[in-house]
């Protein structure tokens, strides 16, 4: 005799499905807003903060539910007699939820992430459609009676035990997936081997190193927001070298140029006022290091316009980087204009949220620069205003297409000397010296753009003994992000890349 799923069992599974689906949709929307501005109007309706961890948790829940429901249905199907409309809508639900689950895990696993992300987004909208067409139409048809039908009237111990069991299994898989990582083997080289940091990567030792390729997604200006990043690593007894390469069809060094207009000098921008410039900006690349490996940046990203309690809102609504656990994560920030000619990456870190300064429009929470003894680039305006600026310095000799103005090849701005014709461009970046000195200069770097690809070489001591740096050793986890002429809209990947040294 065929067994059928009890109504109360179905109701319990249905309630869990509602909670998990809503949770995954809300957290998913928050993640989607990071790279899809048109969703910003719903920002005030969805949760903020460390949503990636929650989203992964809901994904585990949804996956378990799908597995349990399929298993249970094969063993003991639920007997119901919906209308043809609801039967068809249920199929939409089965397809969309299955696609959401599979594509989500593919993104997590770096398995055709680029394609999987597109499928995930389409499936998510199908799931939203299903949710409305299923739930709302039932409510329209049945009114309040629908709640009486879908809420459990009494809970049996077997249901409570089964739910607890699912929570425990879910917790186990959540921990497992949250801390899973890729691996990058660091190839050992002799201390006497010379690796020139020139962005060429043409030393034979690089050929011997393993390549790990990660698909990074969700950035501005890249084709479909995505670029594959290939990473190689070498190490001698003292230092680690990284050769990183990524697709970027355009070399962008047009960094916030200053344009002479009939009303004065103007910063060319498209979002810089909100600290989210996406047109007139240099290409950049970031490497984050942490001794923790939790997915989605090891608890350093808090999304939303005001994700941190007692801290100010941000201008772009995208969130803040900060470490609320008090630990420091290292952040190397290579910039095609501002640091490339210094042969450096800006050595920064993500720490606890800093104190808010009332005199500064931009608050960057835990994203801070390491200390330096001297040297800097500064912006070539006396004070930034979207309405117009006065340059800080004028070049002694005007050169076309100059990305950086050297301090000692320029003189302080005087309006009497400002005889430049309308339409003249000036660089916005001034080098006060040719490099940083001190803690901020720990990472040597040089990038070269050729044939639609950036190639970047980086080197740093394994251990700088700075409290703002993370030592490079087996188990250190790494994340990478590319910026295509974007200030903050960078690509990202979920799982950490764990370094393994054989030294």
């Amino acid at each position: 005799m065929k067994t059928f799923m009890q109504r109360q069992t179905f109701i319990v599974l249905h309630v869990i499905a509602i909670v998990i689906t809503i949770g995954s949709m809300l957290t998913g929307f928050r993640i989607a807003i990071i790279s899809q501005d048109w969703l910003a109007p719903i920002s005030s309706l969805i949760p903020q903060g460390a949503v990636h961890s929650w989203h992964l948790g809901f994904s585990i829940g949804l996956t378990l539910l799908v597995v349990v429901f399929i298993g249970y249905t094969i063993w003991a199907p639920f007997r119901s007699y919906p209308s043809i409309y609801h039967k068809l809508i249920n199929y939409l639900g089965y397809v969309s939820i299955s696609l959401v689950v599979l594509s989500g895990w593919a993104v997590w696993a770096n398995f055709y992430s680029h394609e999987a992300r597109s499928i995930h987004q389409i499936a998510m909208w199908l799931m939203v459609s299903y949710f409305i067409l299923h739930a709302w139409v039932y409510i329209l048809q049945k009114g309040r009676g629908v709640f009486a039908a879908i809420l459990p009237k009494r809970l049996k111990m077997t249901h409570v035990s089964a739910v607890l069991c699912l929570v425990v299994i879910g917790g186990f898989f959540h921990t497992l997936t949250l801390n899973a990582s890729h691996q990058l083997d660091v190839h050992t080289i002799a201390d006497t081997t010379f690796i020139e940091i020139d962005g060429q990567g043409n030393e034979p030792q690089w050929q011997d190193a393993d390549t790990f390729t990660v698909t990074t997604i969700g950035g501005a200006n890249f084709e479909n927001g995505s670029t594959d990043v290939s990473i190689k690593a070498l190490a001698n007894q003292y230092e680690s070298y990284f050769l990183i390469s990524w697709q970027d069809n355009s070399k962008s060094t047009n960094h916030l140029p200053l344009l002479k207009t009939p009303t004065g000098w103007q910063v060319q921008e498209n979002g810089f006022y909100r600290f989210d410039e996406r047109t007139f900006y240099e290409d950049k690349f970031a490497v984050m290091l942490s001794d923790g490996c939790e997915a989605a940046g090891d608890k350093t990203y808090y999304s939303g316009d005001k994700p941190l309690k007692n801290k100010p809102k941000n201008w772009h609504g995208k969130g803040y980087h900060a470490s609320l656990d008090g630990k420091v994560r290292d952040l190397w920030h290579w910039k095609a204009v501002r640091t490339n000619d210094m042969y450096l990456a800006d050595d920064n870190f993500i720490g606890p949220p800093s104190k808010h300064l009332k005199g500064k429009r931009r608050y960057s929470a835990g994203y801070q620069a390491d200390g330096k003894e001297s040297g800097a680039y500064v912006m070539n305006w006396q004070w930034y205003s979207a309405k117009g600026i006065s340059p800080k310095r004028l070049p002694e000799k005007m050169q076309s297409h100059q990305a950086v103005l050297p301090w000692f090849g320029s003189t302080p701005y005087q309006s009497a000397q400002d005889t430049y014709p309308i339409g003249t461009f000036l660089p916005s970046v001034l080098y006060r010296s040719n490099r940083f000195e001190g803690d901020r200069a720990d990472v040597r770097a040089r990038g070269q753009w050729r044939d639609g690809r950036w190639t970047l070489e980086l080197v740093r001591k394994h251990n700088t003994h700075s409290k703002y740096d993370v030592p490079l050793q087996t188990g250190t986890c790494m994340w990478v992000s590319a910026f295509d002429h974007a200030q903050i809209a960078h690509t990202r990947h979920i799982q950490a890349i764990k370094l393994r040294y054989s030294l």
Partner: protein
């Protein structure tokens, strides 16, 4: 059914209405202690600039703001301590004097200029200078409110406190003056001949509790930049 459709339409309208509400921008708030003042003596909001002085409500003084424009207020210039009689003349480095620089030179030039509508500039007392020390918000920054006090170096800044006994290693130089180091947020007594940085101050008339800094009427601009 019609009632449910109406309620649904209302819920949908409320949802769309909430979505269409303008997103609130970060809010500007005044600093309890400091106000930016322009070269002409006008008051600015905390997000406006450029500014040449800062009104310090706590000490009831104006602070000179350093620059990087190679003017007399450039933050890179250093000065030996000299008050016209005591101290060491012309042992600092600047571009605006034919010889080298001392604190007396900066005071003289700033008074001649009438910075922020004021012409009684002086060196701050050690207490005034010490009152600016606060923990930096980033390791790259000095121990001062760097949103108001820009171009401050992680080095020593002269106070007016002089005739102080020097530490053992400087004893051969006799007496010295007190300087505040904004890298460590501590005070030291340094020989007069040392090249240190300077931030000048000017007293405000006691009647002027609020920011009327000169005889001219102060324009207030609260517009957000």
């Amino acid at each position: 059914m019609i009632q449910r459709l109406i309620i649904s339409a209302l819920i949908l309208a409320a949802f769309i209405g909430i979505c269409l509400l303008p997103q609130a921008q970060p809010k500007l708030s005044q600093h309890k202690r400091f106000t930016k003042i322009t070269q002409e003596g006008d008051k600015l909001s905390p997000w406006q600039g450029p500014w040449a002085c800062v009104h310090d409500k706590q000490n009831h003084i104006l602070w000179e703001i350093k620059t990087d424009n190679e003017s007399i207020h450039d933050g890179y210039w250093t000065y030996s301590w000299f008050d016209g009689e005591k101290g060491k003349q012309n042992f600092g480095d600047c571009y605006f004097e034919p010889n080298r620089c001392d604190t007396h030179d900066l005071i003289r030039h700033t008074n001649q200029q009438g910075l922020c509508g004021v012409s009684k500039w002086r060196l701050p007392t050690a207490k005034e200078l010490h009152s600016l020390i606060q923990a930096p918000t980033s390791p790259a920054l000095p121990h001062i409110a760097n949103d108001f006090f820009i171009h401050i170096k992680q080095g020593d800044y002269w106070s007016s406190e002089h005739s102080q006994p020097l530490a053992k290693q400087y004893r051969q130089g006799g007496q010295g003056a007190t300087a505040i180091n904004f890298h460590f947020g501590k005070s030291y007594t340094l020989p007069y001949r040392n090249a240190a940085f300077v931030m000048l101050v000017a007293d405000l008339p006691t009647a002027n509790i609020q920011p009327q800094l000169s005889r001219r009427e102060i324009n207030t601009h609260q517009k957000q930049e």
